[in-house]
Symmetry: C2
Subunit: 316 residues, 2 copies
């Protein structure tokens, strides 16, 4: 339904990540050109189309959203000294921390250049604010790491910042360039925000989805990093004395042995942590779909609802 726009966005992405400094397109290509799901730029394209927008500005802005996302991925790859000392493999083994940081910075800057070319201060305001919020969410996550007293509220603050804010902005700008009334751009932002919350909840649940381990998906990254994600919070909330001791040692103190992940998964299952996380995500999806009621029924509205519902159905 959005194939020509997505193709144009891909072309813009490849054209605009170029640089005379060869390492930049080389490293960026690993993430950007390889072509992930392109979920966030698709949201911008879909929101613009839902609003009946007929110009071409959504292409550049979709590329810009993907650049911001890729930059955060690169920066997320940066490994702490402590993690390295514990002997875990680094996600950025090929190029190193420094290259990840600097190429990420380049993509951020390029994203802002794309916005400036677009020329709308309103769009700039939305995406700059989202960028600051993403960083705040990531720092908040860092401060909750290994902290067993992390509340559900704080977890939701983290994922609202690190994930949902960009989903919201990606949707909102599609409505802004179509010059829709505030009620509709706000509805798009709400749709994106709820969708982003659902998306991250599912992501965090799948990190403990033991039955997927056989399919080649990495399981347990969050566990190893001592992240207080929703399934862990659920398991801790329902923990008996023995379980609490386990979580205190493995997550609180970061002392893990090879068999601990299997134990963690067993405790998770005992409390239905994965299913309950996905149920929570389902509630966000319903809220997301409800926000779209600000728009008349249309094939694009149905497509967006389908995308949202698919988010909690995915198992990869």
């Amino acid at each position: 339904m959005l194939e020509p726009e997505l193709l144009a966005t891909n072309q813009a992405i490849i054209a605009r990540m170029d640089s005379p400094v060869a390492l930049i397109p080389q490293l960026a290509a690993h993430l950007v050109a390889a072509g992930g799901k392109r979920l966030r730029p698709l949201l911008t394209l879909a929101a613009a189309k839902l609003c009946g927008y007929e110009g071409a500005r959504q292409i550049k802005l979709a590329a810009c959203v993907e650049f911001i996302h890729t930059a955060t991925l690169l920066h997320d790859d940066v490994v702490d000294e402590s993690v390295l000392r514990r002997g875990f493999a680094s996600a950025n083994a090929v190029f190193g921390n420094k290259a990840s940081v600097l190429v990420g910075d380049f993509l951020f800057a390029r994203a802002f250049e794309l916005m400036v070319e677009d020329g709308s201060l309103e769009v700039l305001r939305i995406l700059c604010s989202a960028s600051a919020t993403i960083a705040e969410g990531e720092v908040l996550q860092l401060t909750t790491q290994n902290d067993l007293s992390t509340t559900e509220q704080k977890y939701f603050d983290v994922i609202r910042g690190k994930t949902a804010a960009l989903f919201a902005a990606a949707c909102e700008v599609g409505g802004v360039i179509a010059q829709r009334p505030a009620a509709q751009t706000a509805a798009l932002a709400q749709f994106g925000m709820d969708l982003g919350m659902a998306f991250q909840l599912v992501d965090d649940a799948l990190d403990y989805a033991a039955d997927e381990a056989e399919l080649g998906k990495t399981v347990g990254d969050d566990f190893r990093e001592g992240k207080l994600t929703y399934p862990v919070l659920l398991a801790i909330a329902g923990a008996d004395a023995r379980e609490l001791e386990f979580w205190t040692r493995t997550i609180g103190e970061g002392e893990q042995s090879e068999t601990d992940l299997a134990t963690a998964l067993a405790f998770m299952q005992r409390h239905n942590a994965t299913q309950r996380s996905i149920a929570r995500a389902d509630a966000f999806v319903e809220s997301a779909c409800a926000a779209l009621a600000a728009f008349p029924e249309s094939p694009m509205r149905t497509a967006l609802e389908d995308v949202a519902r698919y988010t909690t159905a995915r198992r990869f």
Copy 2:
């Protein structure tokens, strides 16, 4: 001469680096609030005053320039795994790589938010483009690390990107908000660019200024990191067989023992590498001052010339 403006800039800096996520102002305060030389924001303030600007926009933009600078400092602190493995102390020992990256990202985003509030697309264009150029320069520097075949041209490309581009942008925006003709904003950009080149040349020379070691300044950081800075290029260009073997091992292959820095310093002195670097910086300073001829004589023009000449006179 610019004291009230600098005071207001400092207040803006402290106010705008605040965040509900406590680690952000905590970490940023280490760098920003502690108050470095504030050289780059001072350039914006001085350029605006030189142009007879009488509004208040320069304050926010000066803060914005300092945020960009601080973000790059934080990201420069990020350490590579390889460096860690070789056992060097990390510059970001207190907070870790990840916090440096994320708080840097926050400051970048905040800088862009400040620009959006200012509302000038021309200013946004200049500073976004400078940000992309900084990242390109830093990546280029990374690719020349440990590469003995690095040319002088490439070194100048690196410092133009990583340092001079922000100096240039800081000056240029001062002229832009004063709505000066293109010839004068271009002259300001040229002044900043040349000044930045001189500044980095002096910085790189001082990293090998042995006689300063007693004054408590760290010497030899660039050597340990295998950076191909100007003094090293001079020493390599004039090296005999024994010296070349030394540079190949210590810089090219990164194999260093404790006594190597002293040897490096001795070779540097043999080729007058520090003095010749500063002479090169002097030439940039003269070019910077010449650019200011686009403006009539004034106390502020003299002050800027003095700042430029002081750059190559500094010994810390």
